[in-house]
C-alpha cells in the first residue's frame, strides 16, 4: 500500500531528570483512546502500537510500566496527552525489512480495561476496536455470553443505534467504539426482537457457525 505516512500518527515521550531530558518520537500505526472530560486535552489510551529501534521501544515500554504520559497526534487527531494507566499489558514483536541488518521493533500496549473482557462485562462498558456490525455483534455475543445468530448483526446494530448505546472514541488506523449496556439489557432487546418477529431462530437444529474474523477485517483498510 502507498502513502502510509498519511495514515500513521506520532507518539512523543519526553522524560526530564535533573541533568538530562530524553525525547523520543515514534511512528504510531494504531491508537485507541477515550477523551477525558476533565482536564481537557487528555485521554485514556486503550491501545498503542508503535514501531522503532531497540532503545526507543525499550524506553517506551519502561515508560508504560511506570504509568508515564505521552503525546499522541495523527490524522484527524490534534496533539493530546494520553496515559495507559496501571496494569497495562505489553506485547513485543519485530518486523524484518528487506535491505536492513536489524529488524524494526514493534510494541503494542493495551490498557487493563481493554485487555480484560471480565471488566467490560461487569462494568457495562465494552470497548471494541472496530465499528463493523459483524464484529460488534460477534464480540458482544462472546464477551457477554449472548446466544444468537451471526445474521442478527444488522438488526442488533440498529438496536444499539436506537438506544444510543454506541459512542465513537479516538482512533488512528481503526474505527473504535464504546458500547454501553449490560447483558440483561441486550437480552431484553433480543427477547423483543424474537417476539416481534424482527429476528427468528433458524429452522435447522445444530451448531451455529460464526464467520471467522481477522485483524485485517477489523482495522481500516489502507486506501
Amino acid at each position: 500500500m502507498k502513502n502510509a505516512h498519511l495514515r500513521f500518527g506520532w507518539l512523543t515521550y519526553v522524560k526530564s531528570t535533573e541533568k538530562t531530558t530524553t525525547s523520543i518520537r515514534l511512528r504510531l500505526d494504531r491508537f485507541i483512546g477515550e477523551v477525558l472530560p476533565d482536564p481537557p486535552r487528555q485521554a485514556k489510551a486503550h491501545l498503542i502500537s508503535v514501531i522503532g529501534g531497540d532503545t526507543q521501544i525499550a524506553a517506551v515500554s519502561a515508560a508504560i510500566s511506570l504509568g508515564d504520559r505521552f503525546m499522541v497526534d495523527g490524522p484527524g487527531i490534534q496533539p493530546i496527552r494520553v496515559c495507559l494507566e496501571r496494569n497495562a499489558q505489553c506485547f513485543k514483536g519485530s518486523v524484518q525489512l528487506g535491505g536492513r541488518k536489524k529488524p524494526l521493533r514493534h510494541l503494542i500496549s493495551l490498557s487493563e480495561e481493554f485487555a480484560s473482557s471480565n471488566v467490560s462485562a461487569s462494568s457495562g462498558r465494552t470497548l471494541l476496536a472496530s465499528s463493523g456490525v459483524r464484529f460488534i455483534w460477534a464480540s458482544l455475543a462472546h464477551i457477554h455470553g449472548i446466544p444468537g445468530m451471526p445474521e442478527w448483526a444488522d438488526w442488533f446494530a440498529g438496536e444499539l443505534n436506537t438506544h444510543k448505546a454506541i459512542v465513537r472514541v479516538l482512533g488512528i488506523g481503526c474505527d473504535p467504539v464504546l458500547v454501553k449496556g449490560k447483558k440483561d439489557q441486550f437480552l431484553s432487546w433480543l427477547s423483543w426482537g424474537v417476539e416481534s418477529g424482527a429476528i427468528s431462530l433458524p429452522a435447522e437444529t445444530g451448531s451455529i457457525r460464526w464467520p471467522s474474523l481477522s485483524l485485517q477485517d477489523i482495522f481500516l483498510p489502507a486506501n
Binding site: H5, I51, G93, G145, P147, V194, W210, S212, L215
Partner: protein, 119 residues
C-alpha cells in the same frame, strides 16, 4: 534513513505482537466440527456443553431455543466483625458455568449454579 512506512504497514499485521494482541482484540468464536468415533455418553456431552462446544439451536415448538454456555468468575464478598471492632473483609473467587437461553417465543433465561434468574 527513515522507516519505509509503506513496507512496514504491509508487514506489521503479521508481527508477533499483533498475533498476541489478536487474542484480546478478536472474539474467540469456537467452531468445533467432527464426528466422534463412538457415541458420546452423558458425561462427554456435559463436558462439551460446559466448554461451550455445543452452543447452538435445540428443541422443537415452544421449547426451541438457542443455547450459549460460558465459564464465569463469581466473587463472593462478606465481612466479619471481631469482638475488638476489627472488620475483616473476605473475597472468594471461583469459576462456575453459565447457560444463557433465547427461546423461539422470545423468552430468555440465564441459568447458573445459583437458584432463580428467569425472565
Amino acid at each position: 534513513m527513515g522507516i519505509p512506512l509503506d513496507e512496514v504497514e504491509d508487514l506489521l499485521l503479521e508481527s508477533s505482537a499483533y498475533r498476541q494482541a489478536g487474542r484480546v482484540l478478536l472474539p474467540k468464536l469456537g467452531d468445533v466440527r467432527g464426528r466422534p468415533l463412538t457415541p458420546l455418553h452423558g458425561g462427554h456431552v456435559g463436558l462439551l456443553c460446559t466448554a461451550g462446544m455445543l452452543n447452538g439451536v435445540f428443541g422443537e415448538g415452544d421449547a426451541r431455543h438457542i443455547a450459549h454456555w460460558r465459564s464465569v468468575k463469581f466473587t463472593d464478598h462478606w465481612e466479619e466483625q471481631e469482638e475488638d471492632g476489627t472488620r475483616i473483609l473476605h473475597d472468594r473467587e471461583r469459576f462456575s458455568h453459565e447457560l444463557t437461553l433465547v427461546f423461539a417465543n422470545g423468552k430468555t433465561q440465564v441459568l447458573t449454579h445459583e437458584k432463580k434468574d428467569s425472565e
